[in-house]
C-alpha cells in the first residue's frame, strides 16, 4: 500500500488557507493512484506530528505544499514527522533542486519518501502559465501580454526569491509572453511599481503563493493599485496607469497544482499509473468541474 500526505501550513484564523490543500487532495483521491491520501498541517489538524500514524500504508510519500525550500521544508516538517537521519544536505539542493530523500519515521516505523516542495518543481512553471490562461480565460494567452510572477521575498530566506526567479526564467525561455518579470513584495524589484517594468498594455500578475489570504487578497491588490481598499474588490482586468492588469490570485489555487503534487511523488518512486495524464486532462483550462473547486477565496491569512 502507498499513501500520499500533502503537508501544508494552514491557519488558526482563516479557513481559506487550507482550501487548496483539500481541493488538490481530492483531485488526487479521485485518481485512485494512492490507497490513502491525507492532508496535514502546521496550524490545523491533523498536525504534521500525528498524520503518519493515521495511515495503514507502509510506503508514504510526503509532498510539502510550500513554495520554496527553507524553514518549513528543512526544519519544521522533517522534525515534526520524526524523520530519522534527516539532514537538509541529503536534498543536495542549492535552493531549487530538492527532489526527494527516503527516511524512516521513528514513531511508526514506516518508510517516508520526503519530497521537495511543490513550488520548485519544473511542473510548477506550467501551473503559473495555466494561471495566466485561466484568469484571462484564454488558453492561448501570450502574445501582447506581459507576465509578472510575484513572490514574497524576504531577507530571512534567499530561497524564497530563487523559486520565483527560476520559474520566471523558464517561462521567459518559452518565448510565449512578450515580457516576463519576477517581482516581490518585500524586496526589489517591487510589485508596487509593476507598470514601470512592462511595455505591454496587458499584464498578468500571478502571485507565487499557495493559498489566498492577507497577502494575495489585501496587500498586493492595494499595492498594485487595483483598488484603494481591498474590501471594495477589484476588476479583472483593472486599468492601472494605462495598462490592463489581470490579477490572478494565489497560483496554489489553480487546479493543475494537483499535477505538481503527483509529479513530486512520481519522482520519489510512487506508482501512479496514468494518474498524471488524467489530472492534467481534468484540470485543463475550461474544465468546469475542477475550476469550481479551486476558485480563490478571500480573507486574511494567519
Amino acid at each position: 500500500m502507498q499513501a500520499l500526505v500533502i503537508a501544508a501550513h494552514g491557519s488558526h484564523l482563516n479557513p481559506d488557507a487550507s482550501d487548496p490543500t483539500y481541493a488538490h487532495a481530492d483531485t488526487v483521491r479521485e485518481t485512485g493512484a494512492f490507497d490513502e491520501v491525507r492532508e496535514a498541517f502546521w496550524k490545523e489538524e491533523p498536525h504534521f506530528r500525528e498524520v503518519i500514524r493515521t495511515l495503514e500504508s507502509d510506503e508514504v510519500f510526503v509532498v510539502p505544499l510550500f513554495i520554496s525550500e527553507g524553514y518549513f521544508t528543512e526544519q519544521v516538517i522533517p522534525r515534526e514527522l520524526r524523520l530519522e537521519d534527516w539532514d537538509p544536505e541529503k536534498w543536495e539542493s542549492d535552493g531549487t533542486d530538492a527532489s526527494q530523500v527516503t527516511l524512516e519515521a521513528t514513531d511508526v516505523g514506516k518508510t517516508i519518501h520526503y519530497c521537495g516542495p511543490v513550488g520548485t518543481h519544473d511542473a510548477m512553471t506550467d501551473v503559473i502559465v495555466q494561471r495566466a490562461e485561466s484568469i484571462t480565460e484564454d488558453p492561448e494567452v501570450g502574445e501582447g501580454f506581459g507576465l509578472a510572477v510575484v513572490g514574497h521575498g524576504t531577507e530571512r530566506n534567499e530561497n524564497s526569491a530563487k523559486a520565483v526567479e527560476y520559474h520566471t526564467e523558464r517561462i521567459r525561455e518559452q518565448d510565449r509572453f512578450d515580457e516576463v518579470k519576477a517581482l516581490f513584495m518585500d524586496e526589489e524589484p517591487e510589485v508596487d511599481d509593476v507598470t514601470d517594468f512592462f511595455e505591454t498594455d496587458d499584464i498578468v500578475v500571478v502571485p507565487l503563493f499557495i493559498a489566498d489570504g492577507y497577502h494575495t487578497q489585501e496587500d498586493i491588490p492595494e499595492d498594485v493599485g487595483l483598488t484603494e481598499d481591498y474590501r471594495l474588490g477589484w476588476n479583472v482586468p483593472a486599468e492601472v496607469e494605462g495598462h490592463r492588469i489581470w490579477y490572478a490570485g494565489a497560483v496554489g489555487t489553480e487546479g493543475l497544482m494537483a499535477d505538481v503534487i503527483l509529479e513530486r511523488a512520481a519522482d520519489a518512486g510512487a506508482d501512479l499509473g496514468d494518474a498524471i495524464e488524467r489530472v492534467r486532462a481534468a484540470t485543463a483550462v475550461g474544465t468546469d468541474e475542477v475550476r469550481r473547486e479551486t476558485e480563490p477565496g478571500t480573507g486574511a491569512g494567519d
Binding site: H12, L13, E45, H47, R53, T54, V76
Partner: protein
C-alpha cells in the same frame, strides 16, 4: 437466509482447508483428515464430515456471516480502523482485553448478542459524534453492517429534519465553522454544529468521516488501548520548537498549569489531556473525560504559549487607579463572561450583569482615556 443459501460458507470452508483452523469471535472450526471439529459457546462437535458440518452450521449462520464480514470485508488485522469498528458494535478488540480503558466501560457482546443488538442498531458516542452500527437488512441479516453518524444533540431528531450526507469528505465542511459561523481551528473543540447526518456509510467511510471531524483521534485511542501511546510532555514539546516559538520552554512551571486550565479542559477541548509538565511532574488541572487522548500540546496551545511566555517575562508593577467597589467587581464579571464565552447570552437590558454591554460602555466612557486605555498611574517602585 440459511447458511447454504448465503455466499459465506464456501470461503469459510476454504479458509479451514487452507489454514487447518479458523478461530474468530467465538467460532472455532478445525479441519483434519477431511473431518471437522466445530465449537462455539453453545456447540462442541467433532468428527463431522462435510455434509454433517453444513447441517451443524445451519443454526450458527450468525457466526459464519460475522466471520466473513470481519475477515473479508473489513480486514485490516491489527489496524486502528478495525479496532474502532469493533468498538462501535461492542465486539472484543484484539490486544485491548487486558487494558482498563474508559472507552471500554460497557461489556463486550458475543456474536448472538451482537446480532440481536445490530437489528436495532448499536449506539456509541465519540466526542460530540453519535455512531450507530446496524444491519443493512434487518429482516434477513447477512452480516453486512452500515454506519450512521450524527451529532449527539440530534439523537432525538427525525432524519427528515437533518441535512443528510453520504460522502465522508463532507465532514470537512461541517467541521469548519460553529453554529454562529465562526471558524473552528481546533477540531476537537466542543463546538461542532448539529443538524446533519451521514447515513449508510461503509466501515471505511465511517472511519474517514470520524477522522475528518476529529483527526488522529482513532489512531491515538488505538495506541492507548494497546498501552503504546507515546506522550510528549510539555517540556519536551516546548524544547523542540524553533523560530518564533523557540522561547516557549521558558514559560514558568506554574503558568503551564494556568495554560492547561485555560485551554485543555473539557469545556474547551474534548481530547483527554495525557501530557504533563514533564515525566513525574503532573499538572494540577484535570485532563478531562473523553475517550480519545491528547498526546502532546497542540499548535493552538503552542501559539498561545508564546504570548504567555512573553507576558510572564514582564516584571510585575503596581498601579493606582480609581474604581468604586462595584466597578472592581464589574471587571471580574467582564473577564469571567469572556472566558466562559457567554457574552452573547447576556440580555440587552440585563444591567444587573457586570458584563452587560451598556455597563461595559459606561465603564469605558467614565474610566478610560482618549486612547482607549484605563486611566491608571504606575506607582514608583522605590
Amino acid at each position: 437466509m440459511t447458511v447454504a443459501e448465503s455466499a459465506d460458507l464456501e470461503p469459510l470452508l476454504a479458509a479451514a482447508a487452507e489454514e487447518g483452523e479458523v478461530a474468530f469471535d467465538g467460532l472455532r472450526l478445525e479441519r483434519a483428515d477431511d473431518e471437522y471439529a466445530l465449537e462455539t459457546s453453545e456447540t462442541d462437535r467433532t468428527g463431522l464430515d462435510e455434509a454433517a458440518l453444513r447441517d451443524a452450521l445451519e443454526p450458527l449462520e450468525a457466526y459464519v456471516s460475522n466471520w466473513r464480514y470481519w475477515q473479508h470485508e473489513i480486514g485490516g488485522d491489527g489496524t486502528a480502523r478495525r479496532a474502532f469498528l469493533r468498538w462501535c458494535e461492542r465486539a472484543p478488540i484484539a490486544d485491548a482485553e487486558r487494558i482498563d480503558h474508559r472507552s471500554l466501560d460497557e461489556p463486550t457482546l458475543d456474536v448472538p448478542e451482537r446480532y440481536d443488538a445490530l437489528a436495532d442498531g448499536i449506539d456509541r458516542e465519540w466526542g460530540q459524534l453519535c455512531i450507530t452500527t446496524r444491519f443493512v437488512d434487518v429482516e434477513r441479516p447477512n452480516g453486512e453492517r452500515v454506519y450512521d453518524l450524527w451529532h449527539v444533540d440530534d439523537a432525538g431528531s427525525d432524519l427528515a429534519d437533518l441535512e443528510v450526507y453520504d460522502d465522508p469528505r463532507d465532514a470537512r465542511a461541517l467541521a469548519t465553522e460553529d453554529e454562529d459561523g465562526r471558524y473552528r481551528p481546533l477540531k476537537t473543540a466542543p463546538t461542532l454544529r448539529s443538524g446533519w447526518a451521514f447515513t449508510g456509510l461503509s466501515g471505511r467511510g465511517l472511519v474517514d468521516a470520524v477522522e475528518f471531524f476529529y483527526p488522529a483521534t482513532v489512531a491515538n485511542w488505538h495506541r492507548e488501548l494497546r498501552d503504546e501511546l507515546d506522550v510528549d510532555h510539555w517540556l519536551e514539546t516546548a524544547e523542540r520548537q524553533s523560530g518564533i516559538y523557540d522561547v516557549i520552554d521558558e514559560l514558568p512551571r506554574e503558568a503551564v498549569d494556568w495554560m492547561a486550565e485555560a485551554c485543555c479542559v473539557d469545556s474547551q477541548c474534548l481530547r483527554r489531556r495525557e501530557w504533563q509538565y514533564e515525566e513525574g511532574d503532573e499538572l494540577d488541572v484535570d485532563g478531562g473525560d473523553g475517550p480519545f487522548p491528547c498526546r502532546e500540546p497542540c499548535s493552538l496551545v503552542v501559539a498561545a504559549a508564546r504570548k504567555w511566555t512573553i507576558l510572564e517575562s514582564e516584571e510585575e508593577r503596581t498601579y493606582e487607579l480609581e474604581l468604586t467597589t462595584t466597578e472592581l467587581n464589574q471587571l471580574s464579571a467582564l473577564i469571567d463572561a469572556v472566558a466562559e464565552g457567554r457574552t452573547d447570552e447576556i440580555r440587552e437590558a440585563d444591567v444587573h450583569d457586570g458584563a452587560n454591554r451598556y455597563r461595559a460602555r459606561y465603564l469605558r466612557a467614565k474610566r478610560f482615556d482618549d486612547e482607549g486605555g484605563i486611566e491608571a498611574t504606575e506607582q514608583n517602585s522605590e
